[in-house]
């Protein structure tokens, strides 16, 4: 019994294998816009390295965002296909839940951030209350000043936080802004695997087609009257990925 965890929510991608007790293997990398080409070779490499056969995969967990629309769909489509082909159970876990989860023990109010393009970030707030670690807000897409207006207490930021973003948060929030160390604020599929495994233990299996991205934002209504076939993605926006600076 093994769980395969897939996450291509942003420019960072991660894949893990988990047996309910140990993470057997994990690979996290900066895929930029190559997720589609690199996801399957990575899965096959982890299977070969751990000598786990596909026949023994009976659970699949996938990160459902919010994040890059196209990125999310790559892992979700792959996960649906693998689950269907292997007869495995499939579970979706929010990418922000995965980011916040390793910081539960800190008991800090935690805010994972992921770039949402056009100066916005996907975010949510997590906190322990009555000994339960839970998401305490809806999923948000907002600029940093908009987000900070909702912050009154010390908050631990995790996720994809560049130097510029960190400085902006420090400027607005002063000492209330806390930052997890670079390695501990990264998103890792091992945590997705844990959350997915636990969710499958407690909640019933959903239809594969019902596992869908958490989009938060509406599709841009930029129609394609004069150009029904978009050129190959030469810029990040074409992939729905946020611009990098």
């Amino acid at each position: 019994m093994t769980l395969l965890a897939l996450d291509t929510s942003t420019e960072w991608a991660s894949v893990a294998l988990y047996d309910g007790h140990d993470v057997l293997a994990e690979e996290t990398w900066h895929a930029q816009r190559r997720h589609a080409d690199e996801l399957f070779p990575t899965i096959e490499r982890l299977l070969a390295r751990t000598r786990v056969t596909l026949a023994s995969i009976d659970k699949v967990a996938v990160a459902t965002g919010p994040g890059s629309f196209t990125g999310l769909r790559i892992a979700i489509a792959a996960a649906q296909g693998i689950a269907r082909g292997a007869g495995a159970a499939l579970v979706g876990v929010s990418t922000l839940d995965v980011l916040a989860y390793p910081h539960a023990a800190s008991k800090q109010r935690t805010c994972p951030l992921l770039p949402a393009g056009r100066g916005e970030f996907y975010a949510a707030f997590y906190q322990e209350r009555n000994r339960r670690w839970e998401r305490r807000s809806p999923f948000i897409a907002a600029t940093l000043p908009e987000l900070c207006r909702q912050i009154g207490a010390h908050t631990l930021f995790v996720g994809e936080i560049g130097a510029e973003t960190e400085q902006t948060l420090r400027d607005i929030l002063g000492p209330k802004a806390l930052f997890a160390s670079p390695a501990s604020r990264m998103r890792r599929a091992g945590y997705l695997a844990e959350l997915g495994w636990n969710a499958l233990e407690t909640s019933p299996q959903r239809r594969l087609g019902d596992i869908e991205p958490i989009y938060v934002k509406q599709p841009s209504i930029r129609t394609s009257f004069d150009q029904p076939f978009a050129p190959p993605p030469t810029d990040d926006l074409a992939l729905g990925l946020p611009k990098r600076h």
Binding site: G81, I82, A83, E212, P228
Partner: protein, 331 residues
Amino acid sequence: MRILAIETSCDETGVAVIDDGRRIVSNVVASQLVHQDTGGIVPEVAAREHLHALDGITQQALNDAGVELRAVDAVAATVGPGLVGCLLVGANYGRGLALAAGLPFIGVNHLEGHVYANWLYEGDTPTPEPEIPAVVLIVSGAHSDLVLMEGHRRFRPLGRTIDDAAGEAFDQVARLLGLGFPGGPAVERAAKDGDGAAFPLPRAALSGYDFSFSGLKTAVLRLVRSLEAKGEVPIADVAASFQKAITEVLAEKTARAAAEHSVETVLLGGGVAANLALRAEIQKRIGHPLRVPSPRLCTDNGAMIGAAAFFVLRDRGTEVPVNVRSDMKLA
């Protein structure tokens, strides 16, 4: 060889089960209706719809065929050309399915799919295979390609559109005349009661085999505006005149290509190939039977991808593609 084939390059979600590249065991196509509201395809909306529908449609295709995934020999999916976000849904789902079921995965060029739609048949009696060499005209909302098929999977491009695809011109004229989306069938319906000689419209006289439809589009726009100024627009006559102009250009070049290369077989593919006026214009000029897939197989579908995938495996000279390339060409 039995192939489960997936098509998600544009706005149709299609899955089919195909035997030996020719026999349709099942073929399920779900057209996305959401685009009718915008009068054009919004790529992000199309990609969302594909992901929402694909697993269910795959189940339906297997059910219709009465086979389990275990009874399939390979999984194929379109990997280009097309809308990248849409292609990624079908390709990653198909690749996952293949990996988990221990089957080979075959990435298929969508344009090869339109060509090999001509090899498909339904029922138990095979139709004769098309003779090669052949001249192939692929006309749709995204493509207007004229190619010489020299052998299986060996194509020499003769001409293509230098601006709009033929199907786009149909869509734009339909929008102009308030006929709805998609424009191909809408214009054809309106043109039935019209006079194709009512209004003279330009036929872009490009040398060689390239096409240009933007001039025709502009001429129709001017015509409609001037008719509007005078009173009511005779929609049927405008639709018929436009249809005559565009199908004559396509037919003329196709027939000329067949004559120049001394090729007997002319094959059609793509949504615009379902247009009966186009078929008639070409038929008139080539003097022997024209081979056209049924309208259902002209528009995007999984069956044609299953047909093309079979020939990828059979005539494998190169590596089987697996990665999505939205700008893939026919060569």
